[in-house]
């Protein structure tokens, strides 16, 4: 199981907004434990998908130089179950502005236009907030691998996103 809970970034506005999608598939291991015979994509992994979408938005604002981490989930509310065969759309919007100290993100997740979840979360920078820890220079949050996989160097050249649709 990779720790990547979004598949593709489909829209991006520097410092303001990012939209991603995730396919949920029977081929994924975790759904078979949650629950055996009746797979439901876990709400906490939907939160992580939003954290990764918001994380890219906040990280890009600093050219992926800072180690951006999830510091707080103010609220995460779920309205329906996401199951294999579904594709969810995760939209992250910055509340106010991204600051050096951190950012507040409003997240909205939909499937075929239906509201799946509303999530509000805060990001902070690891070096700024956890001074006592010994951290290397290298940015292990945004590695070249991760950046390449999500094509994060081409965010500002994305084609306009397709109209919302399911599969």
């Amino acid at each position: 199981m990779r720790w990547i809970w979004i598949d593709k970034i489909i829209a991006f506005e520097h410092g303001r907004r990012a939209v991603s999608i995730k396919n949920v598939s029977l081929a994924e291991e975790h759904v078979h434990d949650h629950f055996p015979g009746y797979p439901i994509h876990p709400p906490t992994l939907i939160i992580e998908g939003m954290a990764q979408t918001g994380g890219v938005l906040v990280g890009e604002a600093f050219d992926f130089r800072e180690k951006v981490i999830l510091a707080k989930v103010t609220r995460a509310k779920f309205y329906c179950h996401v199951v294999p065969g579904d594709q969810i759309r995760l939209e992250a919007n910055v509340v106010g502005e991204i600051r050096l100290e951190g950012a507040l993100i409003d997240g909205r997740i939909t499937r075929n236009g239906d509201l799946v979840a509303e999530i509000q979360m805060m990001f902070a920078h690891l070096d700024q907030s956890r001074a006592p820890l010994e951290l290397g220079e290298e940015n292990f949050v945004f590695t070249e691998d991760f950046i390449r996989m999500l094509r994060m160097r081409q965010l500002n050249h994305l084609d306009p996103p397709p109209a919302e649709h399911g599969i």
């Binding site: 199981m1 015979g37 995460a76 290298e138």
Partner: protein
């Protein structure tokens, strides 16, 4: 990697309180991505550990009545120290209220005596048959599976060890 975030129940006092533990091992493959050369238990996994701990309290209190117990809402989830491989997250969950279809909790996770995570949780409880009548036959099997898992994580021993008033 398996999506089980409770390894053992340490204490249980239904319907009020439950304490459980999640042990973190380098063998859990997703750690390779979180983060490369700096493996730590992801924040949402800490949250899932709290959710699953609370779910066990619901199941015991309701005698496993509903086969699906899921997170409906999380509030004020705050993160503190990291949990590293070789470490353990100790989840302490207190019930505010456990109803038939939903429940609310205050939950805290600590590692080495330091706070790693805290949250307020609302869970929903339902049977597969409530959502998908065609597959209602699955509920009984899932209930049996979960009762067995409760034994696996030493639930009965924790129940027996309750300090009687």
């Amino acid at each position: 990697m398996r999506f089980y975030l409770v390894d053992r129940i340490l204490e249980i006092d239904p319907p009020r309180r439950i304490v459980a533990v999640k042990s973190l091992s380098l063998a859990e493959e997703y750690l390779a991505d979180h983060f490369p050369a700096y493996p730590v238990l992801p924040g949402v996994m800490m949250l899932e550990a709290l959710v699953q701990t609370a779910a066990w309290l619901v199941r015991v209190k309701t005698d496993f009545e509903k086969s699906l117990v899921l997170l409906r809402e999380a509030q004020n989830v705050r993160y503190g120290n990291f949990v590293r491989p070789g470490g353990q997250l100790v989840m302490e969950v207190e019930a505010i209220e456990i109803g038939a279809d939903s429940s609310r909790f205050k939950a805290v996770g600590q590692c080495d005596g330091q706070q790693a995570v805290q949250a307020k949780l609302t869970l929903e409880h339902l049977n597969i048959g409530d959502e998908d009548p065609l597959r209602a036959n699955l509920d009984e099997g899932l209930r049996t599976f979960l009762r067995e898992q409760f034994r696996l994580i030493r639930g009965p021993q924790a129940l027996a060890a309750r300090v009687q008033p």
